[in-house]
Symmetry: C3
Subunit: 325 residues, 3 copies
Amino acid sequence: MKRQGLQFDEEGRLRHFITLDGLDRGTLTEILDSAENFATVGARQVKKVPLLRGKTIANLFFEPSTRTRTTFELAAKRLSADVLNLNISTSSASKGESLLDMLRNLEAMNCDMFVVRHNTSGAAHFIAEHVAPHISVINAGDGWHAHPTQAMLDMFTIRRHKGDFTALRVAIVGDIKHSRVARSEIQALSILGVPEIRVIAPQTLLPPEAERMGVHVYHSIEKGIRDVDVIVMLRLQRERMEGALLPSEDEYFARFGLTEAKLALARPDAIVMHPGPINRGVEIDSAVADGPRSVILEQVSNGLAVRMAIMAKVLGRGPQSEEAA
Amino acid sequence: MKRQGLQFDEEGRLRHFITLDGLDRGTLTEILDSAENFATVGARQVKKVPLLRGKTIANLFFEPSTRTRTTFELAAKRLSADVLNLNISTSSASKGESLLDMLRNLEAMNCDMFVVRHNTSGAAHFIAEHVAPHISVINAGDGWHAHPTQAMLDMFTIRRHKGDFTALRVAIVGDIKHSRVARSEIQALSILGVPEIRVIAPQTLLPPEAERMGVHVYHSIEKGIRDVDVIVMLRLQRERMEGALLPSEDEYFARFGLTEAKLALARPDAIVMHPGPINRGVEIDSAVADGPRSVILEQVSNGLAVRMAIMAKVLGRGPQSEEAA
Amino acid sequence: MKRQGLQFDEEGRLRHFITLDGLDRGTLTEILDSAENFATVGARQVKKVPLLRGKTIANLFFEPSTRTRTTFELAAKRLSADVLNLNISTSSASKGESLLDMLRNLEAMNCDMFVVRHNTSGAAHFIAEHVAPHISVINAGDGWHAHPTQAMLDMFTIRRHKGDFTALRVAIVGDIKHSRVARSEIQALSILGVPEIRVIAPQTLLPPEAERMGVHVYHSIEKGIRDVDVIVMLRLQRERMEGALLPSEDEYFARFGLTEAKLALARPDAIVMHPGPINRGVEIDSAVADGPRSVILEQVSNGLAVRMAIMAKVLGRGPQSEEAA
C-alpha cells in the first residue's frame, strides 16, 4: 500500500520531514538504522561524505537558534551540500516581501531543501504545502507543535542504550504544555512501541489534551519516576514564571528538578536525557547533568548523525549510495 | 581595436562589471550566450562546476540586500569559489578604518573579486578605480546609478522569450527617477538594438535627463503599454510616499499599477517582468504577478546563470574551459 | 626531553596555540619555515590545499573583529576545512547557556578546533583547560594578554626582510600597557634571540611590569627609534583619550606619531609594521603608512600563511603531508 499525505511524494517515498504523525515503525527504524552509518562519519579523520554534493540547502530560521542551526549546518556540510543561512527577521521581510514570495524566489534559485524553524505552530507544514515539487522541507521546530528531528535523535540515543523499545518505561518531565519536543517525543515513543509513557508536570504545565495522548500523568516526580528506564527532562522557559504559571525557580527545582536523590528512584540503569540548553539548578541538578547516567552530550553527537540520515533520506540518497557517488 | 576604459584590462578584456556604459553588443551577446550554458547547471543533480575553485570572492554589502547577496553567494558557490560575506555596516567600519584601507587588506588576503552593493551612486566605480590589478569588481547595485547584472538577467529573460531584440517594443513602468534598474535596463536595451523603449511614470518620478535617454515618455500607462512586447514593472519604494512625490498607494495603483485590464492593451504575447521584491497591489496586481504572462520567477533563476557567466568571464574563465579544469 | 604544559599533548606535540610563553626557538622557527610553504598558496591560481578537508573549525568570537575573523576563516577554507562562525554575543548566550555547556556541545558535534577571541585576558587559556582531548584551541586575542598568531606573522615578516633575528634592534611604539600585540611581540622577539627590544610610550601607557620584560624603555620616540631595524607601531584605542590617560590626538601624534622626519632617525633600511587597522594621523602619518618602508600590507598576506601553518601544525598536518592527502 502506497503511503499518502503531505509528507510523501507520488511514489509514496518520504519527501518532507514535518511531523511524526502518519509515519510508521518501519520508516522510523529505517532512519535509525541509516543514522548508525552516519554516526561513524563524525569519528573519521575526514568527516565528509559526498552524498549531497551540489545540493543547496537553505536554513530558514524565523526564530533564532544557534544550536539547532549549527547542527543542521554541520550536517549539511558533512554531506557536502552548499548551505545558505537566512535569518529571516533581518532579511527581506524588512522589505515587506511576503513569505510565499520569498519561498518562490528560493525555489527559483534551485534550492533543494528548506530547514524551517518558526515560532508559529504549523509553519513548516504551511511551507511544505506551498513549495515546488523539487523541494523538501524539514521541520526544525515550529511553535509548540513539533520538533521531529529532536525526537528522532532521542530515539536513536535510547536505542543505543536500551536496544529494544517494546519493554521500556519512559518519563518526560517538565513543561509539557509548551513543549514541541514533548509532543514529538510522545509520538515517536508510541510509534516505536514503548508500552508505558509517563508525563510528569504541575497541572499548569500540562496541555488540556494530555488525557488523549495515551500517556500516564503524574504530578509528583517522586511517583512518576519510579522504575523508569529513561528520563527526558524538558527545558523550563523562564518566561513561564512571569506568566504566573509557576511559583519561583527555587520552588520548581524543589518539586520537579532532577536530583540524584530523585534519580535513585528510577531503575539503576536509567538514562537521563535533555534536549538542551540546560538550566542548571532549575530543571536539573549539575550532579545529574554531568553524572554517569546523563547521555545529554551523546544526544548532541547523535543529532548530527540523525539529521544527516534524514536529510539524505528525503533527498533520496541513502548512505548505501555513497559508493556510487 | 582594443577596448579601453576602467572596465577593461590592458589586453582589452573585460575585467570589471560596473556599468553597461561603454560595452558593445558583442560583449553583451557573449555573456548571454555563456549564461545559456550556465543555465543548465541549476537543473543538474550536482549543481556545481569547478571553474572558480580556489578563488576567493568577497561580498561587500554596504547596503543590506538578502536577495541579491544570496544570488551572488549561490552563483559563487556553484562555481566552487570560496565566499566571504562582509556586512560592512557591522564590520571594521566601526573601528574607524577607511574604505581604502579595508580594500587594501582584502587585496592582501588574495581576494580575487569584490561584489559591491552600496547606496551611493558611483561606489563600485570608485572601488574599481582603486583596487589592485588582480581584483575584479562587480557592481551589485550602487545608489540610483546602475545595477548591470540585473539588466543582463532581464536581457537574458527577454531573449529566451522573444529571440531577437531588434523588433521589440519595451515599456518600463514606475519610479524611473530613483531606479538603478531602469537606468541599466535602458542602456542594455539600447545596446542590444531594441528600437522602441518607453518609460511610463508620473512626472514626479521621471529623471530630468529622461529626454536625453533616447526613450519615449508616457504619463499614462494605458497609452504607453499599447502593443508592447515586454513590460518591466519597477518596485515602488514606499518612502517615496512620505516625500510627497506621490499621492496614496491606492491612487498609485489605480493609475500605474499593472492589472489584467491594462495588460490586455499590450501585445497578446507580451511578457511581464519585475526585479523583485514585488509590492502586490501597489505596482502590480497579484493576478498579473502570478499569471501566465509573468516571467518574474524565471528572472530569478536566470539571475543565477547570468551572474555565474559574468563572474566566470571577468575572472577569465568561460564555461568552455570547464573540461580542462 | 618531552615538552610539557597546557599547550602540549602527552607526546609533547604542540596541540594548542594560546601563548608564546613556554615555546622555544625551535618551535617558532618550525612554524615560520612551514609558513613559507603556505605563503605560496596565496599566489596560486587555485588557492586551496586539502590538508584539513573534513575537519570542522569553529570561530568563537566573543568580541567582534571582522578582520581577524576573516583571516582565520580564509585560512581555514584554503586548508579545505569546514568553518562555523559563532558570534557569541548574539548566540545561545541569550538563552543563558553557560560557556562550558556551549563548549561541551561543540565538542559533541565533533569540532576539531576552536579559534577564540575574547575581551577577557586568559579566556583562551581557560577554554583550552576545559576542552576535550580531540580539540585544539587557538588564541585569536584575549584581553590585554596575548595575540600570539599576530606576533608570529610579525616574526615571519621580519625574517623575510631581515633574515636573521640575532643582530636586530626592534622598537615597539605606542600603547604598550593595553596591548596584547605588544606582549606577544616582546615574547616572540626574545625567544628568537633579538638582542635589543625597545618600547616607546608615554608613562601612562606603560605597564607596571615593563621593567621586568627585558626591554629598554624610552619616553621619547626621537631617542628610542634611533638606529633601529624594525619599528612596530601600535594602534591607539581612542577610548584611552576619554580615560584621561592621554591628552588630545593631535598632541599624541606630535609626540609619538611616526612621521617621515622621525623615521629618518632609524636605520636606512628599517621597516615599519602595524597590526592594523591603522589610525592615520594618530599613531602614524599616511606618508609613512603608504611609504616604501611600510610592510603593513605584507603583514596581512603573511597572516594568512602563518595562520594556515599554525592551524595545520596543531592538527598534526605539516605541509609536507599534502602529497599524501
